[in-house]
């Protein structure tokens, strides 16, 4: 049949010539190729010491943001937990007391906020779902650990450092 794409190639199966049957020229050529790789630069990045540069839209560890006055933005609406396809996020909401006004922006806040990093698939849907711009996946790679319980990150690890500490 005529080839329409003009990409068809007829495979030729010629018997091997004497030089090809001797293997040796091909082996010498192959060894030349491998030895040339001895002098090439390694592609390895020595990870814990050196970190590869991430792209600008890299999604790493979550952080719970504060507003310009240093108050936590999260209002514990639960949309992030609802949107999470891996069900990695849980939280307990609490009502803000009058003397806590400087800590939380809204009247309702997350008393506990936990993300299970073993469940999280870093899809970024929580980031998109959040109406308060409170959660962003802008951290580094989540480090390895030994125990499962240590992968459940609470507010101590997730909430951004207070403003005065940042300065």
């Amino acid at each position: 049949m005529e080839s329409l794409s003009n990409k068809k190639k007829v495979l030729e199966q010629k018997p091997l010539s004497f030089m090809e049957r001797m293997y040796l020229p091909a082996i010498v050529k192959g060894m030349g190729i491998t030895i040339s790789h001895l002098f090439k630069k390694e592609a390895t990045v020595r990870y814990p010491e050196v970190e590869r540069e991430f792209s600008t839209n890299f999604r790493g560890m979550h952080s719970l943001k504060r507003d310009e006055n240093g108050k936590e933005r999260c209002t514990a609406c639960g949309l992030c937990a609802l949107s999470c396809p891996a069900e990695a996020i849980t939280m307990i909401a609490a009502e803000r007391k009058p003397e806590e006004k400087h800590l939380y922006r809204e009247e309702k806040y997350a008393a506990t906020y936990e993300i299970n990093m073993l469940r999280c698939i870093f899809c970024g849907l929580c980031e998109e779902a959040c109406p308060k711009e409170a959660i962003y996946l802008d951290g580094p790679i989540v480090p390895a650990d030994y125990l499962r319980k240590d992968f459940i990150y609470g507010k101590d690890k997730l909430v951004e450092a207070p403003l005065e500490m940042k300065k």
Binding site: G30, M31, T34, I35, H37, L38, E42, A43, T44
Partner: protein, 345 residues
């Protein structure tokens, strides 16, 4: 026999044994490093500077692993197998001349454990015994993959031993001796056998790749077909023995290749060195050169491993029986004719 002689030989044996073990140990490290460099990687670099302590870490790991002996295995042979493999690998070093006699503390010490007049045959005997370790281990495991691998190893070694022996006969026609010491002594300076026997060397080298079960002839342990090969059921230090035996075999093969074809401790300009450096340092320098050649061959083994893919079993047998054996026979005939012509005129 005087005690001095026994002590001298005992020290020599211990030193050579230690050196071959250390070289085998660092071959495992070198293998991983060479593999890494040939594939644009770094290789092990966590244990110590440049990962130099990696073999120690591996050794500790091997010792700490749980020792498993399958209940269905033949317990006694299961234990004998790795021991025999390591033993046969180690005793090959006994006849290799590591250097010219050295003057140490006013005493001339020969750097060869024993100079038996059938050194080449001894090496061959030891090498053929080596396959028993693999066979016994594979059979005693009572595992069909191990058994298949053992059968492969046996048939492969027997096939390639023939070509290896034939390639050596051409060399022996030239040297007129079976003693390794004399074969090396004849290659004084740059008068190496490889210049006269390039084809013989090539056959010998290919066969030694097959004898040591190294790629591209590592069919007894090809993991895609046979899981782990003959050491599938082995764990802990018994597995370590098998792996070690492979590297010691590589070391011995490299030493034999360097001895028979690349002049052993001979190097161009050795007379000048011998005249100027004295009877202690000149022979030691020769020994260092010999070890340099051995290291090169070990590197060559690794280089080939990371270049050529594994042969199929029928290709292996075709190459051995239809390729190398006729070539080796032709090499004998050509060598014989040339020697006859030279002696005539």
């Amino acid at each position: 026999m005087d005690t001095g002689f026994i002590i001298e030989k005992f020290i020599l044996v211990v030193v050579i044994f230690a050196i071959s073990l250390v070289i085998a140990m660092y071959s495992t490290y070198a293998e991983r490093k060479v593999a890494a460099f040939l594939q644009d990687r770094l290789g092990p670099d966590r244990a110590g500077p440049f990962g130099i302590l990696q073999p120690l870490a591996d050794g500790v790991k091997m010792f700490m692993k749980e020792e498993i002996i399958p209940t269905t295995s033949n317990r006694w042979l299961f234990i004998v197998g790795p021991g025999l493999a390591l033993l046969c690998a180690c005793i090959g070093t006994a006849v290799i001349p590591w250097g010219t006699p050295v003057l140490i503390a006013g005493k001339t010490v020969s750097l060869q454990v024993t100079d038996i007049n059938v050194g080449v045959l001894y090496i061959f005997g030891v090498v053929s015994l080596g396959v028993y370790g693999v066979m016994i281990g594979g059979w005693a495991s009572n595992n069909k993959y191990s058994l298949l691998s053992a059968i492969r190893a046996a048939s492969q070694n027997i096939s390639y031993e023939i070509a290896m022996g034939l390639s050596i006969i051409a060399l022996l026609l030239m040297t007129n001796t079976l003693s390794l010491k004399e074969i090396v002594a004849q290659q004084h300076g740059f008068n190496w056998n490889v210049w006269y026997q390039p084809l013989g060397f090539l056959i010998f080298m290919v066969c030694s790749f097959a004898e040591t079960n190294r790629a591209p002839f590592d069919l007894p342990e090809c993991e895609t077909e046979l899981i782990g090969g003959y050491h599938t059921e082995y764990s802990s230090m018994k597995l370590g023995f098998y792996l070690f035996a492979e590297y010691i075999n590589m070391f011995v093969s490299s030493a034999v290749m360097a001895t028979l074809y690349f002049g052993g401790y001979n190097y161009p300009g050795m007379d000048w060195i011998a005249a100027h450096w004295g009877p202690t340092w000149a022979p030691l320098f020769g020994t260092a050169i010999f070890f340099g050649k051995i290291v090169f061959f070990i590197f060559f083994f690794m280089w080939v491993r990371w270049t050529i893919p594994r042969f199929r079993y029928d290709q292996l047998m075709n190459l051995g029986w239809k390729g190398l054996i006729p070539l080796a026979i032709a090499n004998i005939i050509i060598t014989g004719v040339v020697i006859a012509i030279i002696e005539k005129f």
